[in-house]
Amino acid sequence: MLAFLIRRLLQAVPTVLAVVLVVFVLFSVVPGSIMSSMDGDGRGATDAQVMERMRKQLGLDDPIYVRFGAYISKLAMGDLGTSFRTREPVTSMLAKRMWPTLQLIFAAMTFAILIGVPLGFIAALRPGSLADTLSMVVAVSGLSMAKFWLGLLLMYLFALKLGWLPSFGYGDGGLKYLLLPAVTLGVSPMALLARTTRAAVLEIMTADFVRTARSKGMSETRVVKWHVMRNALVIILTAIGLQFGALMGQAVVVEKLFSWPGIGSLLVDSVLQRDIPTVQGSIFVVVLFFLAINMAIDLLYGVIDPRIRYS
């Protein structure tokens, strides 16, 4: 287990380095910088001398490999640089934003798992029934709805019409504020999980060992509980892992929509302001999160499927 963990951690290093390199190069070659945005994009809003001094100060005149070298050596010490905008260390900005994003993502995933997996099971156990059709209608609509639109609908209904929940903002960070953004974010992974679960269970129900279980004289409920569930879990877990990654990206839209003070909205704002260190830092954190989730899923595989543990 420990050897596996160490191997996985070492494997993650090149991935992280590659991502850092790509992000760094990409934001160095795209047109526009903090300078041009301060300059009113060429309308000469700022004094030329001030601009020159700032450029020196931020190190924007150095060749790209010098800047990358400096970035990497600072990164190795856990320093993600200083925001161009706020002059705050990027790490402390991210630290403030991390918790709301994690809250949002885990709440959305919890919603997706609690609704999606049972829905998929119900559909698979009675294929072709009304329950199957209904749950798949829910799943397909959940997949097809744009998040910003669904979010607006929920806001309209629960905040404006019914007045049960606040329409946006983080407030005290309580469940009341979390609910709408989490559901908005959770609907599409919920739909995907429902479909994946249904497909997985349907496939496992035709397996030989299910026939063996039936030949033992088990009720269908027991067959599912004792033999189908754990096997389906292996497949469902893969889907959950993939969805976590996707959620990190989708959170950007939802955070923006609900003015949720997370990494996603920080990322969008920083891109608009060409605050390159903050953009790089945010993406770095997202990538780390993604890798951590993948690793956790890999470890969980080993717990569920003995074939992975030993081979």
Partner: protein
Amino acid sequence: MTSPPLIEVENLRIDLADRSGRVAAAEGVSFRIDRGETFGLVGESGCGKSITALALIGLLRHPLSIGAGTIRFDGRELQNLSAAEQRALRGNRIAMIFQEPMTALNPVSPVGRQIAEMFVLHKGKDWSEANRLAVEALADVRVPAPERRVKDYPHQLSGGMRQRVMIAIALACSPDLLIADEPTTALDVTVQAEIIELMRNLCAERGTAILMISHDLGLVANVCRRVAVMYAGRIVEERGSADIFRAGAHPYTRGLVDSLPRLGSRAALGRTRLTEIAGVVPAIADFPDGCRFNPRCRLATDICRTTAPEITPLDAGGLVRCHHHA
């Protein structure tokens, strides 16, 4: 004929539903097995032997279903039992071993647990007691170090070991009937002999009757007292196993026997070709009229192409379904 048979199948028809309606995948299947008896069902792939077995244990699933006929187990008609009553028989009094020990066991559950389930389901044991009994059951099928092996997962065992686990599961509740559907087809030849021997001995100890299903006539005749040969969904001949080798009455049976290689035949007869049965087994939807074997039969005459032969008793004992039987 004094005691009632353990299981009696009468005129069983198994329907296969497809888009165009229903076709009979097996029909007119009748046989009986006495307590402790060994009975073999032989035929090529797709002749209906496996689905007959599934019908006996009540595991036919859509698109297959019982179309007609009766299955009486211990005097009770299986079709009249409720789902719960059927489940109480299944595994407990009728057990089944499947062909593929690779896939027939749950890959993510320890084998001991898969055996222990039987005691929980049918003997009202709690898990700790059931687990203890599972160790004994594994010892019964001659698995070395059973107290360690119960914790193993199927992928950690060899094919032969897995089939032993399957036998342990099937015989856990000392059933009255064991259905063995090609139990050794997926195994090495040397392991085959061990598994068959084990199965026979354990069943003999428990007084368990065996219904052995195989395409291997030699194997079945070796294990079973009586053998029925199936072709294209019908039983074409039923005999004592010695008779079937010596003097098969149905042309198909003779074809099967003749197509077996014989030890020493080269010394006696010189280099000869193995005999084969010309043609192939028809698909279920294209079963020919009359006798279903007629397109491949050397003895076929007009009546064979129009009228299906009835099952008729032979003077020497046994039954045959042929207009021209020997």
